[in-house]
């Protein structure tokens, strides 16, 4: 019974990850792209916890803890970058910042 539950969680994690990837590729708003990156991180966290439950120790949950820490740090720095780019070119569309130097 536990085996089928594990595969259910992995399928859910894969579906959420795919939705995140589609969002990153399709959407042009930098903030929505950032939110889809957070979706991908959450999908990976789900599979971490599912595997940790399968194996029987808590190492996967520690990994999720550190993924959350890294996601929080990445959120603050990434949003600061988006704010800086917006101050320079007055837009958050990712295709508007396509030149390295102008």
């Amino acid at each position: 019974m536990l085996q089928s539950t594990l595969s259910n969680y992995l399928i859910l994690s894969a579906v959420l990850f795919t939705i995140g990837v589609v969002g990153v590729v399709v959407r042009k708003n930098a903030i929505i792209v950032f939110m889809c990156i957070e979706l991908m991180l959450n999908a990976v966290n789900i599979s971490f916890v599912a595997f940790s439950r399968q194996v029987g120790n808590l190492d996967g949950q520690i990994a999720v803890f550190f993924v959350m820490v890294v996601a929080a740090a990445e959120a603050s720095v990434g949003l600061a970058i988006i704010i800086s780019v917006f101050r320079a070119i007055k837009s958050v569309t990712t295709s508007d910042s396509s030149e390295l130097k102008w």
Binding site: Y9, L16, I31, L39, L58, M68, A75
Partner: protein, 160 residues
């Protein structure tokens, strides 16, 4: 137990689809907050109680608030939503129904949990964090300090 998982999984997938197909960034952020709450519920169903709480506190409570602050600060609000009593009533009914369906299931699950493996309660996770994973824990605190300083340096107004 699999009924709870089915509801949570389908809702998580639907809210993720809502994130990528919303018209304005504010709607996407709110769909993502719903998705984070559902993923926290999935952690709780998988006996990872500490992670469920920290997911709500850190992800939904700090990161998404930061994203919404940035959206409001940059003025990307988009179309102002019109008040609709139909939407209000439907969302209230859906919220109450969701809680009413899940609460007895969670209570029964908490009573019959811990059948396999270990639970991710605060004591076990904390013991692991401070013994086996002490070095990454301290390195993570350096990472956070670096991120704070970096965000400050990037987002402050330049004087020229």
């Amino acid at each position: 137990m699999s009924f709870v998982f089915t509801i949570l999984a389908i809702s998580a997938v639907l809210s993720a689809i809502g994130v990528i197909t919303s018209r304005t960034p504010v709607y996407s952020a709110l769909w993502l907050v719903l998705n984070l709450f559902l993923v926290a519920s999935l952690y709780a169903v998988m006996d990872a109680h500490f992670l469920a709480a920290s997911q709500i506190i850190v992800y939904a409570g700090a990161i998404m608030v930061l994203v919404l602050f940035v959206i409001m600060l940059l003025g990307l609000v988009g179309v102002a939503p019109k008040f609709s009593p139909f939407v209000t009533v439907v969302s209230l009914v859906a919220g109450v129904g969701f809680v009413a369906v899940l609460t007895p299931l969670f209570i029964e699950f908490a009573r019959s949990s811990n059948e396999i493996g270990v639970t991710g309660d605060v004591k076990s996770v904390g013991r692991l964090l401070f013994t086996t994973y002490l070095y990454p824990f301290e390195a993570a605190s350096f990472l956070i300090i670096g991120a704070i300083v970096g965000a400050f340096a990037l987002a402050k107004k330049r004087r020229t």
